[in-house]
Amino acid sequence: MADYTYPSIYFAYFLFFLFLAGALYFFLRSFRDGYWGATSEDVKYQMLKDEEAEGHGS
């Protein structure tokens, strides 16, 4: 019987590093997109706008 232990673990490592790279990219990008700057708190007031006032859906 073939042993797939190493290919499987390498697959898990590959996925892990793929996600780590993605996480690092988006973490660094969050600085550029203003999530740590002076306007970073605006969004918490935006979400409180009552969308229910928009009318009733079907």
């Binding site: 996480a23 306007t39 979400m47 409180l48 009733h56």
Partner: protein, 470 residues
């Protein structure tokens, strides 16, 4: 305030005031089916708890044996109730946070239909004993593939909505939701497919990575997404600090995945791997504290609101349980504590506080908040909602505390070689009796919750305007 982007053409059919009208069809499908599964799987949970007290219950019928009902309870609660409710609530709040309609309601309904087929398939397969034999990954391969397909459909819908959003800055709930979708892909593929091709310790290690991250990278991010959305909305209070929530999100992203091996402390894995898992388990206190501090600071001066506001009551109780369970986790990953509590009843006490006390409380709050709004009506009974809270709360505390104490006691007995194992089983009988009666109370909370939601939907009519803005 964040500037509004131009509404993408085709992204939404905006009203005259540039606000979309949400039909919430996909959310309705997920939410209504999930609350029914919550009740049905609650019956299974009661039977399991009763079997601890009356082991002869239901005789020797294989389908009703503990070994078949237990995975049905776990998978039913995780995927039938909690994740389905989470997905329904995501379909509710993501379009609202993005200021556009859901990318595709039809795709959402198709996802819900497939999800229901998976849950019903799981009921049949697990009762028949078709089980892969891995914790949390018991479903047969064909259902695993179906889960992956459903998750891709769900992800396409959520990301499709986020990509067409009107507001450039994303609220933290969107971050957690997108993180959950991506991390689930990693965790589920590894836990349900890679484990099939490994053996021995490697297989166990991968499986425990999956088990721990099923909670930490699936239910935690989506649960926190709900809490970050519904606490400010239910109380009409702005979040204390969005920047702090970002610190919590990124620290969770970088720390959580390493902790799974703490399930194998004192087991046959390398000491360095055990130490890494302990170190990262302790580092989890950072994201946990940022979350809890943020919610408590949000509520500062507003605690009286919890008196009459049932969703807020569930949410803030869930935050307290989240703090407790996340304090327990790092502590019992320590070698000395682990030597006592590992594999004992302490663990189900801990796990139930996370999945029921924290994340199910968040989801119940979300359902109580969103269902009246989705159906344009008022909640059928505030008094009944209050009853569901207190039944779940008192039953939950009874359940958690009893199992912690019982588990600790069990662990001390197991560490004494002079005590025969069977004596440690007999000694725990009173603990399991309290566990059962606590379970009855929790089930009472679930039943009143289901009744209240169904009655709300059945009696749905024109909604008084004041209730809309309550």
């Amino acid at each position: 305030m964040a500037a509004e982007k131009e509404i993408p053409s085709g992204a939404s059919s905006a009203t005259a005031s540039h606000r979309p009208v949400h039909s919430d069809t996909a959310a309705k499908w997920f939410l209504m089916s999930s609350v029914v599964y919550f009740f049905v799987v609650g019956v299974i949970a009661l039977i399991i708890a009763a079997k601890f007290v009356w082991p002869e219950l239901l005789g020797t019928i294989p389908m009703f044996s503990y070994g078949r009902l237990r995975p049905l309870h776990v998978n039913g609660m995780l995927f039938g109730w909690l994740l389905a409710a989470d997905m329904g609530l995501v379909f509710y709040f993501v379009p609202r946070l993005c200021g556009v309609k859901l990318y595709s309601e039809k795709l959402g309904v198709a996802t819900a239909v497939l999800w229901n087929a998976i849950v019903l398939g799981a009921v049949v397969s697990l009762l028949m004993g078709w089980n892969q034999g891995f914790e949390y990954a018991e479903l047969p391969l064909v259902l695993d593939v179906a889960v992956v397909v459903a998750w891709i459909l769900f992800g396409v819908n959520v990301f499709g909505t986020v990509f067409t959003r009107r507001y450039p800055q994303m609220y933290v709930s969107l971050w957690y939701t997108m993180g959950c979708i991506l991390w689930t892909a990693f965790v589920y593929l590894t836990g349900n497919f890679a484990t099939l091709f490994t053996t021995g310790v490697n297989q166990a290690n991968l499986n425990w990575m999956y088990v721990h991250n099923a909670v930490g990278l699936i239910f935690t991010p989506v649960g926190l997404a709900l809490a970050y959305y519904f606490i400010p909305k239910a109380g009409n209070i702005p979040l204390y600090s969005h920047k702090l929530s970002m610190i919590g999100f990124w620290s969770l992203a970088f720390f959580y995945v390493w902790t799974g091996a703490h399930h194998m402390i004192h087991g046959p894995i390398s000491q360095w791997l055990q130490t890494i898992s302990i170190a990262f388990s302790l580092m989890l206190l950072l994201p946990v504290w940022t979350v809890v501090y943020n919610f408590f600071a949000t509520m500062k001066g507003h605690w009286p609101l919890t008196r009459d506001n049932v969703p807020l009551k569930f949410l803030m109780s869930g935050v307290v349980f989240y703090l407790l369970t996340c304090f327990q986790g790092p502590m019992h990953s320590l070698r000395s504590v682990n030597a006592i509590v590992s594999k004992t009843d302490w663990i189900p006490g801990h796990a139930h506080m996370a999945v029921l006390g924290a994340f199910s409380f968040f989801a119940i709050a979300g359902v109580y908040y969103s269902i009246p709004r989705i159906f344009h009506t008022k909640l059928y009974s505030d008094a009944l909602a209050n009853w569901s809270y207190w039944l779940a709360m008192i039953g939950g505390i009874g359940f958690f505390v009893t199992l912690w104490l019982g588990g600790f006691w069990q662990g001390w007995q197991w560490n004494n070689p002079a005590i025969p194992f069977i004596d440690t089983v007999v000694a725990l009988k009173p603990i399991w009796a309290v566990r059962f009666f606590s379970g009855v109370l929790i089930f009472g909370g679930i039943a009143t919750f289901l009744y209240n939601i169904l009655a709300t939907v059945i009696h749905a009519g024109p909604r008084p305007q004041e209730a809309v803005h309550a």
